[in-house]
């Protein structure tokens, strides 16, 4: 267009002719054709760009790293009554979990090390980066409710296949362990509850036996109203022993001697406690053996090892409890022994007493209201023992059930997950197709070459034809003199 304020000059206003109008569509089309034709005039540099670009594309394609992908399908069969969730829900829940299980740092470290993956990253940036890189190339996706695809990508088809197979096997192993671990944790939880119930039952029985010891008249009632009351009475006797120990000096003075019949009962208690301690020690030994076995096969971080370690802890605490009880009972028995010897040596009536039926000490006389209170308290303690025993029984049944489930999980774990199709050996690359890169490069180069030619035309400020004069806002030329092809080219004055 002419410069501002210049459009009205005669050069642009045309002599006797109407001023230039807006080009018609036909003129615009002709102009486009002209520009296209001029663009073709730059075919030589455009062709050079094409040649160079295609060569670069081919070079790039040849340097392109090929990525192979191996896939393995794994079936997951749901156990009977294991879950009511839909297939989609299962896939949504399990796929991320399985991937998480597979991409743990410890597992990937061992895989990177075993298959010598990403040596440059390992050497340059460390194992952590290599593990992250490996994690990027693992994919777990669900196909249907019972089948999962596991895949791994690598620059080598063989490596991809081997790693995929290893991951699938690890996943199955891990899944089995997880299932057993869940059953084991449940069994442990129930066992702890059973221990609490047992402790509560012991406390209740101890309270009842103490009460019976303090009120011998209630012993008969205990026999009549509580099954297994013989043990309870032994405990009552033990409680009486404890009481007599605590009041040893006082009882000698009063002449009351309820301890006379105790040595046999104390031995029975000691035998029971010893048996309990031995049982706990055996459990500890078993748990230790389990832990050793697991450590031989797995790392410290493995869930089985953690579970075995937890088992051992529980068994050790049970052993400490049993040992403590036994030690306390022994100490109490030793404390009662001197008074027994003293009574043997000093009082012939004691010998007589042994040969005669044992008679409880005379209860203190109670008022009617006091007797009612004693009976009420007796009933309350008796009810506590019954409740504790009932709870203990329930817990014991739960524990047995949990142990059964644990056994079943151990036995059936291998049936829940299996490899359907082993990892395949990829025959062609999954990514980085060289022909694709070459074609893409060629296409880009073509665009560049065309763009170059068009840009040359659009940025060309020179006047070529009357259309250019029109673009400048000038009048049509007075004449258009064609080039003389035979004349020499060059500067003309």
């Amino acid at each position: 267009m002419p410069p501002a304020g210049f459009a009205s000059t005669p050069h642009f206003a045309s002599y006797g002719a109407p001023p230039p109008e807006e080009p018609t569509p036909r003129e615009q089309m002709a102009r486009l054709k002209t520009l296209a034709r001029r663009s073709l005039g730059h075919w030589k540099p455009a062709a050079a760009i094409m040649v160079l670009g295609c060569a670069a594309s081919v070079g790039l394609a040849l340097q392109q790293k090929l990525i192979f992908r191996s896939e393995c399908s794994v079936s997951y069969r749901l156990g009977k009554g294991e879950s009511d969730e839909s297939g989609v829900d299962r896939v949504m829940r399990l796929a991320p979990r399985l991937r998480q299980v597979l991409t743990t740092r410890a597992r990937l470290e061992s895989i990177v090390r075993d298959f010598a993956l990403y040596p440059r990253i390992v050497d340059g940036r460390g194992m952590g980066e290599a593990v992250d890189e490996a994690r990027e190339h693992i994919e777990v996706r669900g196909r249907d409710s019972e089948t999962f695809f596991l895949s791994f990508e690598s620059e080598s088809a063989e490596t991809a296949q081997q790693v995929t197979q290893r991951l699938a096997e690890d996943m199955i192993s891990e899944f089995e362990s997880q299932k057993v671990l869940q059953a084991k944790q449940k069994a442990e939880f129930v066992a702890r509850e059973q221990e609490q119930a047992e402790s509560r039952m012991d406390d209740a029985e101890k309270a009842l036996s103490t009460f019976a010891g303090e009120h011998p008249v209630m012993a008969a009632a205990v026999r009549g109203s509580l099954p297994g009351s013989a043990d309870l009475l032994v405990a009552a006797q033990q409680a009486t022993v404890t009481k007599s120990v605590s009041m040893r000096s006082g009882s000698a003075a009063t002449g009351a001697s309820p301890e006379n019949a105790l040595p046999n009962s104390v031995g029975a208690v000691l035998a029971q406690l010893t048996a309990a301690r031995d049982d706990a020690a055996a459990r500890v030994a078993h748990a230790q053996q389990e832990l050793q076995d697991k450590l031989a096969n797995y790392t410290e971080q493995h869930p089985d090892v953690s579970a075995a370690r937890s088992d051992l802890g529980v068994a050790q605490r049970a052993l400490e409890t049993a040992s403590g009880r036994l030690d306390r009972a022994k100490a109490e028995a030793q404390a009662t022994a001197p008074s027994t010897a003293t009574s043997k040596s000093s009082a012939p009536s004691v010998t007589r007493t042994r040969t005669q039926p044992r008679t409880p000490p005379a209860p203190p006389a109670l008022s009617p209201s006091g007797e009612a209170e004693v009976r009420l308290e007796f009933e309350r303690r008796l009810r506590g023992v019954r409740d504790a025993r009932e709870l203990y029984t329930q817990r014991r049944e739960s524990l047995e059930k949990a142990n059964l489930e644990l056994s079943a999980a151990r036995a059936t774990a291998n049936e829940s997950m299996a490899i359907l199709d082993p990892a395949n050996l990829a025959s062609k690359p999954y990514k980085g197709g060289r022909s694709k890169v070459a074609f893409a490069g060629g296409f880009v180069t073509l665009i560049l070459a065309l763009g170059y030619a068009v840009a040359r035309v659009l940025l060309d400020d020179r006047v070529h034809d009357p259309g250019d004069l029109r673009q400048l806002g000038l009048r049509p030329p007075l004449g258009v003199v064609p080039r003389i092809s035979s004349a020499p080219r060059g500067r003309r004055g």
């Binding site: 020179r462 006047v463 092809s485 004349a487």
Partner: protein, 250 residues
């Protein structure tokens, strides 16, 4: 000159002088041997397409003749864009078949090229600028024109001998005004416009200006600047010259 020819320069001849006693104008008949005859287009055997285009230009100028456009200055935006070749082509086209009497004037005293282009040997000290210099020295020698044909005369420059400042003297325009009445057209080979004021000096003395734009060489911005520098005092038209066949046919 060969009068039988439809063109002006065909055969070499000996230099002759048509001397008229006391005449203010002397005509010297010269032979011309253009080194590139095809370049002039209007010679026999020349490119017909170019000749046709030049005839079309001639026809358009003839239509404007009633407007008084007789003195025609040929300029261009920058040097080397073909104004001298076009001036020679136009002069030959205008005088073709003696349609009109034409005087071709070399006004580019800094870089004269018409004599070489036409293959004419200018007689010693008869170059246009030298004649102007004599006028500036108050020597009223007759004007010496070179007769290239029966209807085509020329005022050319002697290569290597010239007085460029003569352009700026009043005698330059006086000479044009004095000689013009004897001709139908006076074609003046001018100067590059950008970077010089010589074209504007020429513009003062001519009736119309033709700005030669060489296809593929002249820049649009230069062309606009040329039009702006020439101003609106004289009509100026663009001649698109040396257009490639592809562009021309399109």
């Amino acid at each position: 000159m060969d009068d039988d020819s439809t063109t002006v320069i065909v055969h070499a001849r000996s230099v002759a002088m048509e001397a008229q006693a006391d005449s203010p104008v002397r005509t010297i008949r010269v032979d011309a041997r253009p080194p590139s005859p095809d370049l002039l287009a209007m010679l026999p055997g020349g490119p017909q397409e170019t000749a046709s285009a030049l005839r079309l230009v001639r026809q358009r100028l003839e239509l404007r003749q009633p407007l008084g456009q007789k003195l025609i200055g040929i300029v261009s935006a920058r040097p080397g864009e073909g104004k001298s070749v076009f001036a020679a082509q136009l002069a030959l086209a205008l005088s073709e078949a003696q349609r009109a009497k034409v005087l071709l004037v070399e006004a580019n005293f800094h870089a004269p090229s018409l004599a070489n282009l036409l293959g004419v040997t200018v007689p010693t000290h008869q170059g246009f600028s030298v004649q102007l210099a004599r006028r500036m020295q108050n020597r009223n020698d007759p004007w010496v024109e070179l007769a290239l044909g029966p209807s085509l005369h020329a005022l050319l420059e002697e290569p290597g001998i010239g007085y460029a400042q003569a352009l700026y003297s009043t005698h330059f325009l006086q000479a044009l005004f004095f000689l013009a009445p004897a001709y139908d057209y006076v074609v003046i080979d001018g100067h590059a416009v950008i970077g010089s004021g010589d074209a504007n000096v020429l513009a003062q003395g001519v009736d119309a200006l033709l700005v030669v734009a060489r296809s593929g060489t002249t820049r649009g911005a230069d062309l606009l600047a040329t039009m702006q520098q020439l101003g609106e005092h004289k009509p100026a038209d663009v001649i698109l010259w040396d257009v490639p066949a592809s562009e021309h046919r399109a």
